[in-house]
Subunit: 233 residues, 2 copies
DNA sequence: CCACATAATTCTGTTTCCTTTCTTTCCCGT
DNA sequence: ACGGGAAAGAAAGGAAACAGAATTATGTGG
């Protein structure tokens, strides 16, 4: 009961509701709540309850849930309802396999298509990442890491790729976030990012792809290890 | 007016509506109508009209449209409505770039993970493809071509990849379909498919990836040429 | 004390209605 | 005659109502 009230406050809809369809606001709110773990995997999402929490009727909630389903963040059981979808280790591996292929493509295309301004933008993103690892707020690090990868895919000039990659990033956000609490890998992460950055700047597609593949592979290895050792406890 | 009635009949909802949420039936119907070109790019989708056509109220229509939007098949103008989204040549190129990377991954993984039963299934799919090119019904060829690619991604044992690839295939279905009307490329297609098939059977990942990349590259080249020469007319 | 069946409650699926926003058309002024 | 603005109409956005299925609770029999 008290928890619900807490969530109500936490899930208040941000910013400009004006001229923005309610369903989109709800969509963003729910998505954020899931990604940050406020709504936990397996938790049941009842429409009336969410409606009360966000102060809307069921209609926008329903539409938002349908959208979340297509993004894979909730699972709908026909006739029963929706629940936040958890992920098995196998699911994570699937996502990481796809991500590996697409981050390679992203880095490769970026190395060929990046403009001068984007180069400075990418450098700034890299520096921001390095800086926030020094400070150590894992929430911010996840954010800035995402910015770096997004800067690359922007330079790749392929919006379809960008959409898909961002969707995949959301899929694993929860787990990546958990893994970033550990700072033993920060130095490695910086090195890997630098390597990708250098290859893209040099316009060396082969090298950029290789660096990206390597980066994802190491990240996956680390995540996998973390999750497995957590399970043993 | 008469057109509308025609569409009504064409868009009747197929199969087991029982125990299937109406929105999904609507979703499938609309999707098919768009992919087969019954609903043309730019055409406006008004909820009441579609509701009358399919014999439902607006709600299932709305939810289906939201889902179609996330799949990129319709575009929503806030407050105004939804329309079937067309594709520029640049959009197509974006899709093909991503598809190239993922079909490579698909073939590569399949070469490592395919089971004995799946091998025979893939062989059957290949033969079915060859057979339908002899008959020459472009509708069926597109279907069977899809089956072949789906058999591969099934063997790759990665459902996430499968979902994304099928989504991409839908994106370009209309255009691929158009291009298959031309039978000058059938022989090449068969050769390329055979090459992928052989590499997967041999368990040669490198070779499978190369064959897949080659296949997509040639398909794209052909599509691009077709579209450009159509525009010139 | 537990298992099974039945009833009550809750939640989804769908329809219907009201409100808000956009679009189009028509009229008035220049 | 042409352009701008206001009003009417149409369509989406949102809320509430209704029906049916699912889950939970309750009670009875073993």
């Amino acid at each position: 009961m008290g928890q619900d009230n807490n969530l109500t406050v936490e899930m208040s809809m941000t910013g400009d509701q004006q001229s923005m369809p309610l369903r989109d606001a709800v969509f963003v709110s729910l998505r954020k709540a899931i990604l940050t773990g406020k709504l936990k995997p397996g938790e049941r999402l009842t429409e009336v309850k969410l409606g009360k929490m966000l102060g809307t009727s069921r209609t926008p909630i329903r539409e938002a849930i349908r959208m979340l389903e297509l993004e894979g963040l909730v699972a709908i059981v026909p006739g029963s309802g929706a629940k936040v979808s958890g992920m098995t280790l196998e699911d994570l591996q699937e996502v990481m396999e796809v991500r590996s292929a697409l981050e390679q493509l992203s880095a490769g295309l970026a190395s060929e298509r990046i403009t001068q301004e984007e180069k400075t933008g990418l450098r700034d993103a890299l520096n921001a990442f390095i800086k926030s690892t020094r400070i150590g707020d894992s929430m911010e690090i996840a954010e800035v890491d995402g910015k770096f990868h997004d800067a690359i895919v922007k330079a790749a000039k392929n919006e379809k790729l960008r959409t898909i990659l961002n969707g995949l990033a959301d899929n694993i956000y929860r787990y990546r976030y958990e893994c970033l609490r550990d700072d033993e890998r920060y130095e490695h992460l910086i090195t890997e990012h630098k390597e990708i950055y250098k290859a893209i700047l040099a316009g060396d597609r082969e090298c950029a792809e290789k660096a990206a593949r390597n980066h994802i592979a190491l990240q996956w290895e680390f995540m996998r290890g973390k999750i497995l050792e957590e399970k043993e406890q």
